[in-house]
Symmetry: C2
Subunit: 375 residues, 2 copies
């Protein structure tokens, strides 16, 4: 913890990094996975259990929270940390991605995005200035610039237009950012699947002076190779002494490959969403608890895990809960998945510190390849 | 804890009793409320949190578990305690009530009830012998005799027929009960809303020698006064040195009134079901968290409660979670309600010990009458 927002690079092994972000609300060990707390709750998880999985920071969605309960209301209620009972750091996204994927009747202009709520059809406007204001009202420790994220594949013209708009919005976000002690603003590199555009975006952002940098507009339908190519392209442009955040990513394999390329932070709904649908992520790869072969399997998901949800209940019980549609099945499997994502990041941090990240990467992939029976 | 099943009456105040049931799996402080763990899970509750609310024992449903995952499978998996990770005592019902309320194409004969599963239409038969076998396979610490429960109102003829059948089934249940160290079998008093039938049923059961006695077929649509009348009628017939269990009851007021009339044990889905529908039970009565007036209410459900779900999150947050359909809302409100039911029983136990149960009853009712704003 510290009064100011800061990042320390503690070790490097190839491009893989181990570091620590300090904020007044606590430290974030990197590489870090941030569980997604969409509507001010990591779905199906008690906040105490989120912390118990090893998460240092959670993400909350500006788009969802601006619609319900509303940022002014959250501020009146003492901010997001108090509302959720999550004392640690919170990162909020800018709303840019979700307004384009969820909202109705969107209209994008230089000013921002006008849209209708997907909940009740009410009309709203998101601009860089309003996004900064909302994130400030929520009380975010790390705010994200307002940006436009295009779906892939898209034309270079379209990617350039959105990237340049995002740069102008980055400048407006920075100007509107209400600087408060210990709070940080990250810029977002855009540019679709174009290397020159990614480089141009990164250089322009770096010159503006953000506290951290994100890669946006990836894991939006493109092959993993394209995503990794974009990381490799942008990474050398980003300052070593600031954290790098790959937004909305991804599978355990995506995380390991991105860490190998110098990424420090991730968020993704995958572990929580999969947990609500009967899927477990583990050292042995993905385990589908709906499968009848688990009906009498007394083994837990992973007896070697130090997480209670992972080591204390049998696959047979989880299978039963999933088949019966029981909420406890969602609760336990969400925790299993978040604990696995955290363990994967903890392993990466330890491996970088020991200078054996390449071995670690090979070992975890070997475990996934061996498959779920191989406990 | 003890090797044998036993009951000690520790104090009495009027008809209200404080006692303790000892089983090899732990003690049950009475009056006791047993959370309902229908399908081997107290819905939306982590077993650790169930224990944290103060519950000593949970109930599981024979009907649900015989259909899924099946009693033989549960036995192969090491029994219900191990499956659920609930180390404390478990009481199972006989399946009699739910087969009549949930199953399809029921056919009742002297032998038992043939029916089709409400899940997949598969054909099954429940008899006193099979009910005992299932409850044994599940590993229940307290088993219930197989009985027939009629809906109220019903004719005296119908009530007599079902009561007499239940007595014959009680004898068959007792004969089939696989006596194991520390396990108990309870008989169930039937007789509808007829005092003579209730007395006749109670006397016949007492002469058979069960470890405890239940009142069944109440809280099935009749006014509370009828239920209390039936308790007052049966209670003097029941031995003082054995526990009395009022099945499927009820509201906090039902519980207090039944404790006042000598009842020791309760179970009901009300607190768990209400919690999943946005309703909280509290010292201030019932609180509907859907109500817009809670939207900016920073007060927790009850700041004086020692339960975290009850004292740590604001009503505004619970309102938000309920409106957004978030699972955490169900989780927290279920815990709030179970904690309140346990606190109500703990208060009753303390009041009986201090010889001030009448005052306690008046105080809790006064709190409910004052209403939710009166924190």
């Amino acid at each position: 913890m510290s009064e100011a927002f800061s990042f320390r690079l503690l070790a490097q092994d190839g491009a893989a990094r181990r570091g620590e972000i300090s904020t007044p609300r606590g430290n974030i060990r990197t590489p870090a996975f941030m569980p997604v707390g969409t509507a001010a709750t990591v779905k199906a998880m008690h906040p105490g259990r989120v912390a118990a999985t090893g998460a240092d920071v959670v993400l909350a969605n500006t788009y969802h929270l601006m619609l319900r309960p509303g940022p002014e209301r959250v501020a009146r209620l003492g901010g997001l940390h108090r509302l959720m009972n999550w004392p640690g750091p919170i990162l909020t996204d800018s709303g840019g991605f979700q307004v384009m994927s969820l909202a109705r009747l969107r209209k994008l202009t230089e000013e921002g995005v006008a849209f209708q709520s997907h909940i009740d059809g009410s009309r709203h406007m998101l601009t860089p200035e309003r996004s900064m204001e909302i994130q400030h009202l929520l009380g975010a420790d790390i705010q994200m610039q307002f940006d436009e994220c295009v779906r892939l594949p898209c034309s270079d013209d379209e990617a350039r237009r959105a990237m340049e708009l995002s740069l102008r919005w980055a400048a407006r976000s920075k100007a509107a950012f209400a600087r408060a002690p210990g709070r940080a603003l990250f810029g977002i590199v855009q540019g679709g699947a174009s290397k020159p555009l990614r480089v141009e975006s990164a250089r322009a952002l770096v010159s503006m002076g953000f506290e951290g940098h994100a890669l946006g507009g990836l894991a939006v339908g493109e092959p993993q190779a394209v995503m990794l190519d974009m990381i490799e392209t942008a990474e050398p442009e980003l300052p070593r002494d600031k954290p790098r955040y790959l937004m909305g990513v991804g599978t355990p394999d995506d995380l390991i490959e991105a860490v190998a390329r110098g990424i420090d932070m991730f968020d993704c709904v995958m572990p929580t969403r999969a947990g609500r649908h009967g899927l477990a992520y583990s050292r042995f790869g993905k385990i589908n608890l709906r499968n009848a072969r688990h009906a009498e399997d007394v083994a837990p998901i992973d007896p070697a895990s130090d997480n209670a949800a992972t080591n204390s209940w049998s696959r047979a019980y989880l299978h039963h809960l999933v088949k019966a549609g029981e909420i406890l099945g969602m609760m336990l499997l969400t925790e299993v998945n978040l604990a696995y994502y955290q363990a994967l990041m903890a392993g990466a941090r330890a491996a970088v510190a020991q200078g054996r990240f390449a071995d670690y990467r090979a070992e975890v992939k070997e475990g996934w390849a061996r498959g779920e029976g191989a406990a």
